[in-house]
């Protein structure tokens, strides 16, 4: 891990206000979810997860077919599909489209995919005003920050932070009541919606048999962004496809519940093509940009391609003991938490941040709550082993240590002697206290770093000793 990350993580850990904000917010999201997936409320929850996993697996394994089907269906409904290898191609397409149509103002609904390619900043270089309209994203855009969490982007900010951002950037009087802050944003953004030339959205799902973009939200900003302007452009990763409209039943039931504990979010829009003859409103033009940006690279690995099943519910973040301590800004990319730890190295390349797959306790909570059953801990282990293969040099000492360890483990008598020796070095632990400072003999080299983050339980009787006593007792 680089020094910069260490410094920033220490800063987060040492900020009690931030710690309690993140811990409380993720804790509430955990509670909300657990209430709606409980067996007495949703008896078929596990079946839904299995089905979602099967559908995603099937789609990803036949992705080229479904991409072409999706494309044909979008065209059949009067829309257009644009393929983009990377962010620059999305920017080029939008800039060209804007120029052609004389467009100046773009309203955006929340999209991690556009965060991934830093769309807003890059469009500004083309003198296009791009306004985020999800309340959390809008606050972050004004504050020049990236999302802290996949579904709750401003989770780390307090109402006082928001008051500060609004008064600084919007020139309004400081207002600390969330209801009134929301009203301020509504009024500013309502004008933007009505004046905008292009609406850019992401996509929660792309439906191959319908050529449809499905958007899931609570505020109504995605509905407005895809209804008010004359042009709608959806930017989506190629892995967002599901084969049939009927498959949405399973995914919609899981997504809202896993993300915020809602059986359904307030608005679910199923959009296919521009407005049709007779329809009163809706955009005249409809584009879907299908983005690769590293995804085809991930596809090539049979085991790890399941990373592409993710529906971005954020549940693994909420349940992750690491995310809950270090927060969302200490991950190297826009995707944080366990899912970020597996997709960032695969999208960006392992050499980028080789420490990332190691930043996990492998507790498995993420896999347990994942609605599409991605085996995150298993993938983390695979990535770790790849990192180690890439870094053969400079690891000789570590390998030697493990070889000695393996030898010791195969020789029980010697193991036992060493355990006794270690216990005598550590001492009896005064009155059963945990040891926060190891004896000087052990407090050196790599062990020093290990002990610096861990306390040892007081040495008691070993398992072997207990077992011997037990067999003696039963025999006697």
């Amino acid at each position: 891990m680089t020094a910069l990350y260490q410094v920033n993580i220490q800063k987060t850990l040492g900020d009690p206000q931030l710690q309690s904000a993140v811990y409380a917010a993720t804790g509430r999201l955990i509670d909300h979810r657990s209430k709606v997936v409980a067996p007495e409320i949703l008896p078929d929850y596990q079946e839904l997860r299995t089905q979602a996993n099967l559908i995603k697996k099937h789609t990803v394994e036949n992705l080229d077919y479904y991409l072409e089907q999706f494309e044909a269906q979008v065209k059949a409904h009067g829309g257009q599909v644009v393929y983009a290898r990377e962010g620059a191609e999305v920017v080029d397409f939008l800039a060209r489209l804007a120029k052609e149509k004389g467009a100046r103002l773009i309203v955006k609904s929340k999209s991690m995919t556009t965060e991934e390619i830093e769309l807003n900043e890059r469009l500004e270089h083309h003198r296009l005003e791009t306004v985020e309209t999800d309340l959390g994203e809008y606050i972050l855009q004004l504050a020049h920050q990236r999302p802290y969490h996949i579904v709750a982007p401003a989770l780390h900010m307090t109402r006082y932070d928001v008051a500060d951002v609004f008064s600084r950037r919007l020139g309004v009087e400081s207002e600390v009541v969330p209801e009134k802050q929301t009203r301020i944003a509504r009024n500013v953004l309502r004008q933007k919606f009505l004046a905008a030339d292009i609406g850019v959205s992401g996509a929660n799902f792309l439906v191959a048999d319908s050529g449809a973009v499905v958007l899931v939200e609570n505020e109504g900003n995605a509905r407005l962004a895809t209804t008010a302007p004359g042009i709608h452009v959806a930017v989506a990763g190629i892995e967002k496809i599901v084969p049939r409209a009927q498959d949405l039943v399973v995914f919609l039931k899981l997504l809202g519940r896993s993300a915020t504990g809602q059986p359904l979010t307030v608005y679910t829009s199923f959009l296919s093509g521009p407005r049709r003859t007779g329809e009163i409103d809706g955009p005249d033009e409809f584009y879907v940009v299908l983005l690769d940006n590293g995804r085809t690279k991930v596809l090539a690995d049979r085991e790890k391609r399941q990373s592409l099943y993710c529906i971005r519910c954020g549940s693994c973040l909420n349940h992750c003991p690491v995310y809950r301590k270090i927060g969302g800004h200490n991950y190297p990319w826009v995707y944080s938490g366990p899912i970020g730890a597996i997709i960032s190295p695969q999208f960006l390349g392992l050499t980028h941040d080789p420490w990332l797959p190691f930043a996990s306790s492998l507790c498995g909570a993420c896999a347990e709550v994942c609605p599409v059953k991605i085996e995150i801990p298993k993938l983390l282990l695979e990535l770790r082993s790849e990192v180690n293969k890439n870094q053969r040099r400079g690891r000789r000492l570590e390998r030697l240590a493990f070889r000695i360890w393996a030898w010791v483990m195969r020789h029980p008598r010697i193991y036992e002697m060493l355990v006794l020796a270690a216990a005598s070095v550590i001492g009896n632990g005064e009155s059963g206290q945990w040891l926060s400072r190891p004896p000087a003999l052990l407090n050196r080299g790599p062990l020093r770093a290990w002990f610096s983050q861990r306390d040892l339980p007081p040495p008691g009787r070993s398992f072997r000793q207990m077992w011997r006593a037990r067999t003696r007792a039963t025999r006697g």
Partner: protein, 210 residues
């Protein structure tokens, strides 16, 4: 071209060839429970009320109209072109503007109105959801721009839930460019996870089942 490049990379990664049909897809999972009509209305109301939606069971179209009149109180409202609203008499209430088929005129009317009045193509009992298909009868903005949304729905439109909706409507894209499911008032919890209603969409929703 990026299209060819991406499709080629995808096929290479998956070991598939051009035009190769997919393996058979797992069958769609739809479970439609038997729920009698009365229980549907009860469940729908319970779910919507839990989201702070307001509900009213109207014995007759005239009763529905009276409820709408009491809520709007003659203030500015836009009604969609749904024939059911006309049948109920809602469109001739004072203050109600209707019959709009021009996009710009409709947008201006909705932006100025206090109430948006619609019917619904379906409703989902288990989640308290309205299902709206965009058409010449139902514009998208009527249920979106005004601060209050009023929906008047015939009771036979209430389905048990999502599974039944996608069973009766396996291909929504054949009918409309936009199907939207509305589950309660617009809301956010983006600031300190404090619930605020009425962000960009209506902060208040009333559903009258006739």
């Amino acid at each position: 071209m990026s299209r060819e490049h991406i499709l080629h990379k995808t096929r290479t990664a998956l070991g598939r060839s051009v035009g190769q049909p997919p393996a058979p897809a797992p069958p769609a999972r739809l479970r439609v429970p038997e729920v009698d009509p009365e229980a549907r209305i009860d469940a729908f109301f319970r779910a919507l009320e839990a989201l702070a939606g307001k509900t009213h069971r109207a014995a007759s179209p005239a009763d529905a109209c009276a409820y709408v009149a009491a809520v709007t109180g003659g203030k500015r409202a836009v009604a969609s072109n749904a024939p059911f609203l006309r049948q109920c008499g809602v469109t001739s209430l004072p203050g109600v503007e209707t019959g709009c088929t021009d996009r710009d005129a409709l947008r201006a009317a909705c932006a100025a109105a206090e109430f948006g009045i619609t019917s619904a193509d379906y409703a989902l009992a288990d989640t308290g959801t309205l299902v709206m298909l965009s058409s010449r009868e139902e514009a998208r903005l009527v249920s979106l721009l005004p601060p209050v949304h009023l929906a008047v729905v015939p009771r036979e439109k209430i389905l048990s839930g999502l599974d039944e909706l996608l069973t009766v409507l396996p291909q929504p894209a054949e009918l409309t460019s936009c199907m939207v499911l509305i589950t309660g008032p617009s809301r956010t919890a983006d600031i300190e996870q404090i619930l605020v209603r009425g962000v960009h969409g209506p902060g208040e929703i009333h559903v009258v089942v006739v």
